[in-house]
């Protein structure tokens, strides 16, 4: 009832706008079909008016008040739009033609969609047809290399490894250059959903990719907004670009149908180091005068062989979809398990998804539900880049004496770590459950005016348990004889409420589209970090149970709230409990029942941030030639003090469809100039409550190597800074899209300049202060990214039976820290004798991730000592590539299809920390294994291996990332299957590079605590998890 009243009220001005025009009106009805039968949901509009209808389940429609001389426009996504003159007919039926290209043309922009042709900003969409094939553990791998200026690097070859995505370069000096991900309208939190692994004596692990909860097979398309004119609608979170992931709905289905796909993959490590075998190792030891008897443990072990494996993985999906006219649904179930090429590593993913859409009240009300539930089980070997001088599992395998036995209890390593020990006596598993639901309701008061409410809910629960057995020799932190373990629980919950109002109106020669909206999102994070020392069992599973049960036992004894608890042999008073509220107190519990570890420490966290936004957008186009867009968003965040809670992010863009001008001939199918400007912000990585003084009990590695605990006291965790505000990026962009011969040859050129100021950075506090660093907006700071992007596609052969096309993209980006006060060491280097070593420095006048090294000039022929000045300096090289590019080609002949995709990066340098730490003469003297060429450089066995240009290498590479051959089984109409496709995909088939390490596309980052000045590490290879070569056999059937 109310709705009707509203409708009338709102209609009034609209009617006034329209003015009276209609004479001699009739009612028109008819049927819309395609080659297969009726098509429901087609939009039918009387051209030049707002009068419209949609076809029903049987394809029928009725339109009242149609002028005799009117023209009807039939449009539906996936079909070519048709215009039919009424000419007084009362029955107008049409048969729609499918338009394959137009599907790809739809791009999701914030709070709506547009088409590539009508977009004013730099936006691209990649649809499922163009996705990368093979083993895909997280969605961004689907579009790797598909879009110019979007650099996607997985930090290693580990299943579920973290990712680095940089859209148009790196703006931020913190490790927060990843774009905002929006899944079916729900912006995801930038944080992790699984805990970073605590150090259990062999270094800690970085946290896993938070996107791996999405089943790649559920994804319909991924749209990428690159420039600020497009991303400013996401305001404070748009500075690094926005990536929209749209999941498949039942919309495209005709009636109901099933789809089954199944993949089986075989993976093996693509390259290994050419290390000395046992015989060679002994022979070289003798040749260089080492005591062979002391070095010979009388075995012959290929340690790389020992830790690497050829692994089989599988991925299976079943989906049911139904398009029943007034709505559609799609339900999927997926199960995949990917085994890594390193022993004890795997990723298991179980996903369920239900997407529902339904229309009510003559399609005026549309309800939509996208929901997914997933469980990811992750098993990790000790392969973190934080390991100490002994190295992690991989480092130890590259350096272990090949005559050692493979027994895990071997005690002759001279303090070094045996890979067998690392594998046998550690266990690190995490489980993450995640639920992501988006519910939307859209109501059209009148065809021009609609309101939409979006409710999103995203929650995850993650538990990681890592243990090192008391039998593990040569671990740090007193593991041997005691055992060490960690339990990390992380729960996140994010709620989203959005309301938008949209007014769309076509005028005779122009059209207007206005959007206004409100959004609220909160981000809750809580959990506990528990560490335990001193176990009464050697069994890894029992150890995990012991931590969990002991922690739960202690927690059950505590009444009331608490921040921390712990027990240790040196604390005589009992189990201490540190409480913050109502007053900070430490009390003790003397009941030690059900505790099965000697020392235990648990620390909890629980906090919530909020984001509230108001936004609007106006699109106005004149004569389908001149397109204008203006957006503004006001974002308020609880991460800032009252003075600076709100940030304002405007943008404007203009596009000129030159091909629609009369002076352009028909051969030019697309020619569009785009100009854009926008301001966006970034607050990721700032963390909770850094604008105010907050106090907590101190945490961290509280248990000493001997199991002792000093009961933590209270410490300030942040310093009052009401000035804290958003980091801001201003972007200027221009682009030209072109297409010839009906877009058979098409492409675009883009240029941009991004200026990021007010950099949020954890700087040294002016001492004396409560802590060494505070978050500040660096005064007079400026990071600039400038670049050019070029992409080109061409359908070389375009016939019914034979098709051949290629797509090419290349992007050039120049990064420069133009202004910055001070200089900050960065690029943490690890390894024996390399404590505190670093290879990069952040300073004005140098790009981000610039190398800062000693200049190595060779070895002194007499002494074998390195010739270098013992002073580090900039060497004019950076880890950021100048050029990134992708080349893909598709060839199809009848039922056969071949796709190949190459990617490459050029102009960047990699610091080979693996070689620095392990492949030196000194390492061989210390009993470590090395490649043969290490012994022929003239390096003295007493030489130091300082950080120098000796280990800096060009990272240029070209990789055949993906090649797929598929065969569509010929089926007649009566067949059970409507489609049956078999495929074989090879991934990482070859790499052309001069880099001497295992793979040039690498970035090993230690855990957060090991980062110098909190600055991220990029381009440093420290025993990175090797990238596998994978072959996948796939089957996809629809019925």
């Amino acid at each position: 009832m109310k709705n009707k009243l509203l409708t009338k009220l709102l209609l009034l001005p609209v009617l006034l706008l329209l003015g009276g025009s209609a004479f001699a009106q009739i009612t028109v009805s008819g049927n819309v079909s395609d080659a297969n039968g009726p098509v429901p949901g087609v939009n039918i509009v009387v051209k030049g008016t707002s009068n419209g209808a949609q076809s029903d389940f049987d394809g029928n429609y009725t339109l009242n008040d149609v002028a005799n001389d009117a023209t009807l426009v039939f449009s539906y996504i996936g079909y070519k739009t048709q215009e039919v003159a009424v000419n007084g007919q009362k029955n107008v039926s049409v048969t729609l033609e499918e338009d394959v290209e137009s599907l790809a043309e739809v791009v999701v922009i914030g709070y709506g969609t547009t088409t590539v042709k009508d977009a004013t900003g730099a936006v691209t969409a990649v649809t499922s047809e163009d996705f990368n094939q093979g083993v895909i553990t997280s969605p961004e791998q689907l579009i790797q290399g598909k879009t110019a200026g979007v650099q996607i690097s997985q930090s290693s070859g580990e299943p579920g490894a973290g990712i680095d995505i940089r859209i148009r370069g790196a703006n931020s000096v913190r490790s927060n250059n990843n774009p905002l991900f929006v899944v079916d309208g729900v912006p995801l939190s930038g944080g992790n959903t699984s805990a970073e692994g605590q150090n259990i004596g062999v270094g800690s692990n970085s946290s896993k990719n938070p996107l791996s909860f999405l089943n790649p097979n559920d994804i319909e398309s991924i749209s990428i907004l690159k420039d600020a004119s497009a991303t400013a609608i996401y305001g404070s979170r748009g500075a690094n670009g926005v990536v929209f992931i749209t999941t498949k709905s039942g919309k495209g289905a005709k009636g109901s149908g099933w789809e089954v796909s199944s993949y089986l993959s075989v993976a093996s490590v693509a390259k290994t180091f050419d290390l000395l075998g046992a015989k060679e190792y002994l022979a070289q030891s003798e040749a260089f005068g080492f005591n062979v008897a002391e070095r010979n443990f009388k075995n012959s072990t290929d340690w790389q062989d020992f830790i690497f494996r050829t692994s089989a993985s599988t991925n299976n999906d079943v989906s049911y979809s139904n398009n029943y006219g007034d709505g559609n649904l799609r339900a999927t179930f997926g199960y995949g398990k990917t085994f890594g090429v390193v022993e004890n590593t795997s990723l298991e993913r179980i996903t369920g998804r239900l997407n529902l859409n339904h229309r009510f009240f003559d399609d005026k009300l549309k309800l939509g539900l996208q929901s997914s539930i997933s469980r990811v089980n992750d098993e990790t070997a000790p392969t973190g880049a934080s390991a100490g001088f002994r190295g992690d599992l991989l480092g130890s395998a590259y350096s272990a004496n090949p005559t050692w036995p493979t027994g895990p209890d071997f005690d002759g390593t001279g303090g070094l770590l045996s890979p067998a020990t690392a594998l046998a006596y550690t266990q690190n598993v995490s489980h993450t459950n995640r639920l992501l639901v988006n519910f939307s309701a859209e109501y059209a008061f009148i065809p021009e005016l609609s309101a939409k409410v979006n409710l999103g809910y995203d929650t995850s629960e993650s538990t990681r348990i890592a243990v090192a057995s008391p039998k593990a020799r040569n671990f740090d932190q007193g593991v041997f004889g005691n055992g060490l373990g960690a339990l990390n629980d992380l729960n996140t919950e994010s709620r989203l409420i959005e309301a938008t109002l949209n007014y769309k109106k076509d005028f005779s020669n122009s059209s207007l589209d206005v959007l206004a909206g409100y959004s609220f999102q909160d981000f809750q994070r809580d959990g506990r970090n528990v560490s335990a020392w001193g176990f009464f069992t050697n069994d890894l599973n029992e150890m995990g149970d012991a931590i969990e049960n002991s922690a739960n036992a202690v927690e059950s004894k505590i009444s009331g709230g608490y921040q921390q608890y712990g027990l240790a042999g040196n604390i005589a008073d009992g189990i201490f409990v540190n409480r913050l509220f109502p007053e900070p107190t430490t009390d003790f519990i003397t009941d030690f029942t059900n505790i099965s570890v000697k020392s235990l420490f648990g620390d909890t966290f629980d906090n919530k941030d909020e984001l509230q936004s108001f936004f609007g957008r106006i699109n106005y186009s004149i004569a389908d030639k001149y397109l204008f867009t203006a957006t503004v968003r006001a974002d308020g965040s609880s991460r800032f003090g009252e003075d600076n809670q709100y940030g304002y992010f405007p943008s404007g863009a203009f596009a000129w469809k030159i091909n629609n001008e009369n002076f352009v001939g028909d051969a030019v199918s697309t020619l569009k100039l785009r100009l854009g400007y926008g301001i966006t912000g970034n607050q990721e990585g700032l963390g909770y409550g850094n604008f105010t003084q907050r106090q907590r009990y101190a945490g961290g590695d509280v248990i000493g190597d001997g199991g002792e605990i000093n009961i933590p006291g209270i410490v300030d965790v942040s310093f009052p800074n009401p000035e804290l505000k958003w980091e801001e990026t201003v972007q200027y962009a221009a682009g030209l899209d072109f297409g010839f011969n009906n877009d058979r040859l098409n492409g675009s050129v883009d240029v941009y300049r991004k200026e990021t100021k007010d950099l949020l950075f954890n700087v040294l506090a002016a001492q004396p202060s409560v802590q060494p660093f505070i978050f500040l907006n660096l005064p007079n700071s400026l990071v600039v990214n400038e670049g050019i992007e070029f992409s080109l596609g061409y359908d070389i052969i375009d016939t019914d039976d034979l098709n051949w096309n290629f797509n090419f993209n290349v992007a050039y980006n120049q990064n420069m820290v133009e202004e910055l006060q001070g200089e900050f060491d960065a690029g943490t280097i690890r390894g024996q004798g390399l404590s505190l070593a670093f290879a990069q420095k952040l300073k004005a006048g140098e790009p981000l991730f610039s190398y800062f090294l000693r200049d190595f000039e060779g070895f002194d022929p007499v002494t074998g000592q390195p010739i270098q000045t013992d002073v580090q300096d900039f060497v004019g090289k950076s880890a950021l590539p100048d050029f990134t590019g992708g080349f893909s080609t598709g060839f199809s002949y009848k039922n056969w299809t071949l796709n190949a995709y190459f990617n490459g990066q050029f102009g960047h340098y990699i610091y080979n920390n693996t070689a620095n730490a392990f492949f030196t003469a000194g390492a061989f003297r210390g009993g470590r294994n090395v490649p043969l060429d290490v012994l022929t450089t003239g390096e003295s066995f007493d030489a130091a291996a300082d950080v120098s240009t000796r280990f800096l290498e060009s990272g240029d590479f070209v990789r055949l990332q993906n090649a797929t051959v598929s065969y569509a089984w010929p089926l007649d109409d009566e067949a059970f299957f409507s489609s049956l496709v078999l495929s074989v995909t090879g991934q990482n088939l070859f790499v052309i590079t001069d880099y001497s390490g295992l793979d040039p596309e690498v970035s090993s980052s230690p855990a957060g605590a090991d980062l110098l000045n909190g600055l991220p590490v990029f381009g440093i290879d420290y025993a990175a998890y090797p990238r596998p070569r994978t072959f996948t056999f796939g089957l996809n059937a629809k019925f």
Binding site: Q563, L580, E583, D606, Q695, R696, L764, A765, R925
Partner: protein, 516 residues
């Protein structure tokens, strides 16, 4: 079907709108869930729990004392007593140790920065506790004043100035910078204010917290060195009085040099830190020297110079039982004396062939006999076995190699401070020095000169982190020693550490020390 679906969705739809109305327009305030948030977000309101903050401050200072890096390194590795040679690929650590010993450090040296941060944070946390807004008890305030004096003393000693920030100052206020004499006065005032309210306690297991004697010790230490801060002649009688007061509290010299470093209560330990002594034990021992409670053996880093070893009595080329050495030089077990009690690991200065606990000879990693040499080829290019190793805390003692018990203030130091003060007042320190030497099994000296006094302090207090302080007081920090950069010899700029470059940027009131 349509009806059913709609019926089901209708309430959801209603809830959606309702919830939208209820939660919209938040004030964006964060809540006190896992931390205590200061109201008004800008003003210091006192620490929430004085005892917990004091505990945390002690814990942090203990951690800083136990470390081999930072504070310890700046006060030991920069001297004629200790160096950390780069051994092949090991201990290069980006040159951080080499630059300390050779006096070539720069304002970006990581230990200089980290120590600056650590000590100044300690000062600030202590100031927060002292602040009336925190409402500490008299003893809590005294403890905090003692810790502030201790921390600020090292800031003053290493940098010649001390920045100061009131706890109520916000992040936008640049800390003021106290000159050397101002900082010195604040330290003395803090100690004088603290001592009456510190507990009076003789030798005790509780001396991990400051007692009155610790206050007097710090006072004596500051006053003895005052000339470098104030430019005027120190109050030497004040030093003598302070040391006498320590004696009155019940402390004194005790025989059995290496027993002092066990965790048992003894007459000399005025203040000890609950921090693992692992760094002091393992940083010099070879990888193949080990104890049952440790894995991976020693770290094979720290060593001493031949010249320092030669300042002790005894056979210059070996240190086995019966080599005529004084007690403080310790001894190295051999095939006959190695046992499961001493683990084959000696005390004091380890030179020559090293043994397993069963008496067989130890080998290095390449498989050759592990013989620690007296001489080193240089700061770089060392093998595994170069240099004499120092060990005062023994892994075979009770509590093992990671026991949390490291001495910070010891009476023998006070005893020598008093002797030095008397000497500087024109008295004769010979009898006091000889009192100690006799107790340590060293031949009494006929007379004690300034250089004898410095040498005696070295022999008694090696690796107890006072060497830099002593060399400076005796004007010897700029003298030449092995592996010091020749150009740095005689250059007084090295007497102070540079203000870290990023500290200068963070506070425009700071001025870089001369020469950097």
């Amino acid at each position: 079907m349509k009806r059913n679906l709609f019926t089901n969705l209708k309430p959801i739809f209603a809830i959606a709108f309702l919830s939208l109305l209820t939660v919209s327009c938040t004030d964006l305030q964060i809540e006190e869930t896992d931390s205590i948030i200061a109201e008004g977000s800008t003003v210091f309101e006192g620490v929430a729990d004085v005892d917990a903050s004091l505990t945390n401050l002690y814990n942090d200072i203990y951690g800083q004392i136990g470390d081999q890096a930072n504070w310890f390194a700046l006060n030991e590795v920069s001297t004629d007593e200790t160096l950390v040679p780069t051994r092949g690929t090991d201990w290069g650590d980006n040159g951080i140790w080499r630059t300390l010993h050779s006096h070539t450090w720069s304002p970006t040296h990581k230990y200089v920065l980290d120590t600056w941060n650590n000590l100044n944070q300690d000062v600030f946390r202590a100031s927060q506790i002292i602040d009336p807004l925190s409402n500490p008890t008299a003893e809590q305030e005294a403890q905090a004043r003692f810790l502030r004096a201790f921390s600020m003393y090292f800031v003053l000693d290493m940098w010649g100035v001390a920045p100061y920030r009131n706890p109520t100052d916000g992040a936008d206020i640049d800390p003021s910078v106290l000159s050397a004499s101002e900082a010195y006065q604040l330290i003395i005032d803090d100690l004088n204010a603290a001592i009456p309210n510190l507990p009076s306690r003789g030798p005790s297991d509780d001396n991990n917290r400051a007692c009155k004697a610790a206050g007097y010790f710090m006072l004596a230490k500051a006053m003895l060195n005052a000339e470098r801060y104030t430019g005027s002649t120190p109050n030497y009688q004040g030093v003598v009085d302070a040391v006498n007061a320590i004696g009155t509290e019940g402390f004194g010299l005790q025989a059995g040099y290496f027993d002092l470093f066990k965790q048992d209560v003894n007459n000399e330990t005025i203040w000890y830190a609950n921090t693992g002594v692992g760094n002091r034990i393992w940083n010099g021992l070879h990888y193949n020297q080990n104890s049952p409670d440790n894995t991976g053996g020693g770290w094979n880093g720290f060593t001493t110079l031949a010249e320092f070893y030669d300042s002790f009595e005894g056979n210059p080329n070996s240190n086995n039982v019966g080599d005529g050495q004084e007690e403080r030089r310790g001894w190295v077990p051999d095939a006959a004396t190695a046992n499961s009690q001493n683990l084959g690991i000696g005390y004091g200065f380890l030179i020559g062939q090293q043994y397993e606990e069963d008496g067989t000879i130890l080998k290095d990693r390449p498989g050759n006999p592990l013989v620690f040499t007296k001489e080193l080829p240089g700061l770089s290019g060392n093998g595994e076995n170069t240099g004499i190793r120092i060990i005062k805390y023994h892994p075979g003692d009770d509590g093992g190699s990671f026991r949390g018990h490291e001495i910070v203030f010891r009476y023998a130091d006070a005893h020598l401070m008093k002797a030095e003060a008397m000497m500087r007042m024109g008295g004769d320190a010979t009898s006091m020095v000889n009192e100690l030497r006799t107790l340590r099994g060293a031949t009494p000296l006929g007379s004690v000169s300034e250089s004898d006094m410095l040498a005696e302090r070295g022999r008694e207090l090696y690796i107890e982190f006072w060497r830099r302080n002593d060399l400076l007081r005796f004007g010897q920090f700029t003298r030449d020693w092995e592996f010091k950069n020749p150009e740095s010899v005689g250059d007084t700029k090295w007497n102070l550490y540079p203000i870290p470059i990023n500290a200068l940027l963070s506070n425009p009131n700071l001025v870089q020390n001369p020469g950097y």
